[in-house]
């Protein structure tokens, strides 16, 4: 089945790219594999029939956030020094393994009540109706817009040269 094959390919790509982000010495290559991970996550959204969210993932993460990260990598000249690890590696491995075990146990042991209906196929119009209707999420949308404006102004103020 095509959906199964797509899921496994995307899952393997996501895990491999995420491991590369953490373990590659070269920061620039880590940023590139982070972009690969974002693209594979968009593929996972498509297998979940979330088409609008896949497009937003490509636009926002692959298009904007990765450009910001690559810009920061280039402006901080850390490419040559690599990404060394600190002394917390063994406790972090233990914490991560315990958390992974707990998560997998709780996921497999919980009785999820799976709905038998097929998910909505084009999600753009229902999402817009949810986001912008009065009984939907219009107040969080306005708050998110304010948050983005505050973040833009804050980023400009913080990153500006001071003595001008």
């Amino acid at each position: 089945m095509a959906l199964t094959a797509t899921f496994w390919i995307m899952a393997v790509v996501i895990i491999a790219a995420a491991l590369a982000v953490v373990f590659l010495r070269n920061v620039f290559r880590a940023a590139l594999s982070l972009i690969l991970c974002f693209i594979a996550v968009a593929g996972i959204y498509i297998t979940l029939s979330a088409d609008f969210l896949a497009a937003v993932q490509i636009l926002v993460y692959v298009g904007a956030i990765s450009v910001l990260i690559i810009l920061a990598v280039m402006m901080t000249r850390e490419v040559q020094r690599g990404s060394p690890h600190n002394k917390l590696e063994i406790p972090a491995v233990i914490v991560a393994a315990v958390l992974l075990g707990l998560l997998i146990y709780s996921v497999t042991a919980s009785p999820w009540n799976i709905s038998s209906e097929a998910p909505l196929s084009p999600t753009t119009v229902p999402l817009a109706a949810k986001l912008f209707s009065r009984e939907g999420f219009i107040l969080p949308v306005e708050i998110a817009a304010t948050l983005l404006l505050a973040a833009i102004i804050g980023a400009i103020v913080i990153a500006r040269e001071k003595d001008k």
Binding site: I44, L53, G82, N86, I104, I156
Partner: protein, 103 residues
């Protein structure tokens, strides 16, 4: 073998744990931000999976994922601005050497 909700949740858990490990152990501040992005993507995967398997007609999880993306974009913009400001002052973004406010 058909793909169910558990597959997506376990994928999300593995991705989250990889991001957590990286955020705990790396010393480069930009790499720590990248690992936080990995963790946010893991949360988004599980939200969308819940949305399309448990309440397939309501789309609530996808709305939540959109808000997570908004907060992630704001967080990256402010975080990278802070990193650039620190780099301008200290010429270093190694988190072991940024200890001005440590006592």
């Amino acid at each position: 073998m058909t793909i169910g909700l558990e597959h997506y949740l376990i994928l999300s858990a593995v991705l989250f744990v990889i991001g957590l490990f990286g955020a705990l152990t790396r010393r480069n501040a930009v790499v720590i931000l990248m690992c936080i992005e990995l963790m946010l993507n893991a949360v988004n995967i599980s939200l969308v999976a819940f949305s399309s398997y448990v309440v397939p007609l309501l789309l609530t999880g996808q709305v939540f994922a959109i808000f997570v993306m908004v907060v992630a974009a704001a967080e990256v913009a402010v975080g990278l601005a802070i990193i650039l400001a620190i780099f301008r002052g200290l010429a270093d973004i190694d988190t072991n050497n940024i200890n001005l406010m440590k006592w």
